[in-house]
Amino acid sequence: MSTKKRLAVNKTYKLYLGGKFPRTESGRYYELNGRKGALLANVSRASRKDFRNAVVAARKAWPGWDGATAHLRGQILYRVAEILEGRSEQFEEELRAQGTTPAAARKEVTTAIDLLVHYAGWTDKYQSLFSSVNPVSSPYFNFSMPESTGVVAAIAPEESGLLGLCSVIAPILAGGSTSVILASHTRPLCAITLAEVLNSSDVPGGVVNILTGFRDELLSQFAEHMDVNALLICSDDEKEIKLVQERAVENLKRVISHVDGPLAESPYHILDFQEIKTTWHPVGV
């Protein structure tokens, strides 16, 4: 074997838009340093135009994803979990590089995988749980059922690079909406690696779009875009939450705020991004 030192081949962390991995159109990046101050990666710093392109991709992908059978959506989510399982070492390594202890990294990856399996199971069950037959005082069969809201923009938790991200994506996907996610600013590496997993798990291009960058730069864009139907923000900062709530009024998008941490496994997180449709069907005619 040659004793020559091999040239390092480092991964370029780009964005994930419409099933592709483009660089940000702005050409900007920020430096991400590891625990001892060594450079881990140059991370893409997404601009508002990247966000706009992501929304276009998500809107385009929505009819297909919403129209897919619940069974298929479940299988695809399970597939994501399977592939994540196979690549868990890489995720653990990235988490450790970003400051997580080895034991905590191991736990975060397995919890994320289990969470994906959990939501994979919900895709064909939440409808029954949240539907209802309503008593009405006229001869109608009246029933309500949930439908996906459309394009959901989400600000992922800052403190949890992988589990936080998965806990945001999974309920949105399980419910048939498409998403544009802003990954953690200080822990962005797993986000782009997760995009590779999504991309090879039959998740159609555009269903999940992941941006990395600065929260304060993109927050109002996320809130103001007229073609975004709902917004999830994971933050402990009252000012941030107030800002998005105010900016979101123009198209009355639904704003869901959550503390800065992973969302628990719960079908109610699926319900957050559902619209309830009620049908009046004549009976006895």
Partner: protein, 304 residues
């Protein structure tokens, strides 16, 4: 315009088109940075250049009326936008469109002459023009016989256009070359020369039924033909790219190319049109984006 008898152009005078050069030049028009006020004025100009089009088998009087309303007042809450230049429909719907646009200044254009293939007898094609003009069309969009053109029967094409122009009377004639079927830029150039010499008021790229429809390079070839024809004869001819222009960004690329090729004089709806159906809403959405700073959603704009 001089009322002389049209004469067949001397095609020996044409040099061949440098394909690589044209495509490279067209590509560069896409690199101009048009921002803020210039962008807003380009978007507003583009709206006034629209030939709002519906050419489907399922077109109904209701759909045409709706389209006319949109052409006259593209943004309901803002009268300063538009109106569009014209509505473009099939001959049977010209009367409906004529009534709907009234005296608003929006023109009624009709496709005719066996649109989109042009594969019917000249007699019927001419009577179709007369029917549309009689029903109130201000402009006629005719198709040429591409089969004959590709066979080299240039004189026949020339005669066909001259006859159509006669049939139009005072209506403007736009000649559709259907560049997607013409194979080479040289054929496009020849067809443009013949159409202009035969009296076309506008030359138009495509029917919108064939892919590829309008592209920047093919439009550039036609614009340069217009320029050369103007230099020789002093007569201005209009240009209408149609089909495939569905977003505001592309429309601005066309305007940049127009300005840099033919100059300011052509930068009006009298000499330049966009044949499009879905472009309208994208222009309106971009105008609202420029004004409010918020990216818009198709949910809040009327469907055509």
């Amino acid at each position: 315009m001089a009322a002389t008898t049209p004469s067949f152009p001397d095609l020996r005078m044409l040099s061949t088109i440098d394909q690589v050069g044209v495509e490279e030049r067209a590509r560069r028009f896409q690199a101009r940075s048009i921002k803020k006020e210039s962008k807003l004025s380009a978007l507003k100009l583009a709206v006034t250049m629209l030939d709002v089009t519906t050419l489907e088998g399922k077109d109904s009087p209701g759909k045409v009326k709706q389209l006319c309303a949109k052409a006259m007042r593209p943004l309901p809450d803002d009268p300063s936008i538009g109106p569009a230049a014209a509505v473009c429909v099939y001959p049977r719907l010209v009367r409906v469109a004529r009534e709907a646009v009234g005296q608003s200044g929006v023109k009624v254009a009709s496709v005719a002459t066996g649109f989109p293939s042009g594969q019917s007898r000249l007699k019927e094609r001419l009577s179709e023009i007369r029917y549309a003009v009689g029903a109130g069309a201000d402009e006629i969009d005719m198709v040429i016989s591409r089969g004959k053109l590709l066979h080299g029967e240039f004189r026949s094409i020339f005669d066909e256009i001259v006859r159509c122009k006669e049939a139009c009377g005072s209506a403007h004639l736009k000649v559709i070359l259907e560049t997607g079927e013409l194979q080479t830029y040289d054929t496009v150039r020849i067809a443009s020369e013949i159409a202009m010499a035969a009296g076309a008021d506008f030359i138009k790229t495509s029917t919108g039924k064939i892919q590829p429809a309008a592209t920047l390079p093919v439009t550039l070839v036609m614009l340069e033909a217009i320029q050369d024809y103007y230099d020789r004869t002093g007569r201005m001819v209009g240009m209408k790219p149609a089909g495939g222009i569905s977003d505001a960004k592309t429309a601005i690329h066309y305007l940049v190319m127009l300005k840099e090729t033919l100059g300011r004089d052509w930068l009006t709806s009298k000499w330049f049109r966009f044949g499009a159906s879905s472009l309208t809403n994208d222009l309106l959405m971009q105008i609202c984006k420029q004004r409010t700073g918020r990216y818009q959603s198709a949910d809040y704009f009327t469907k055509d």
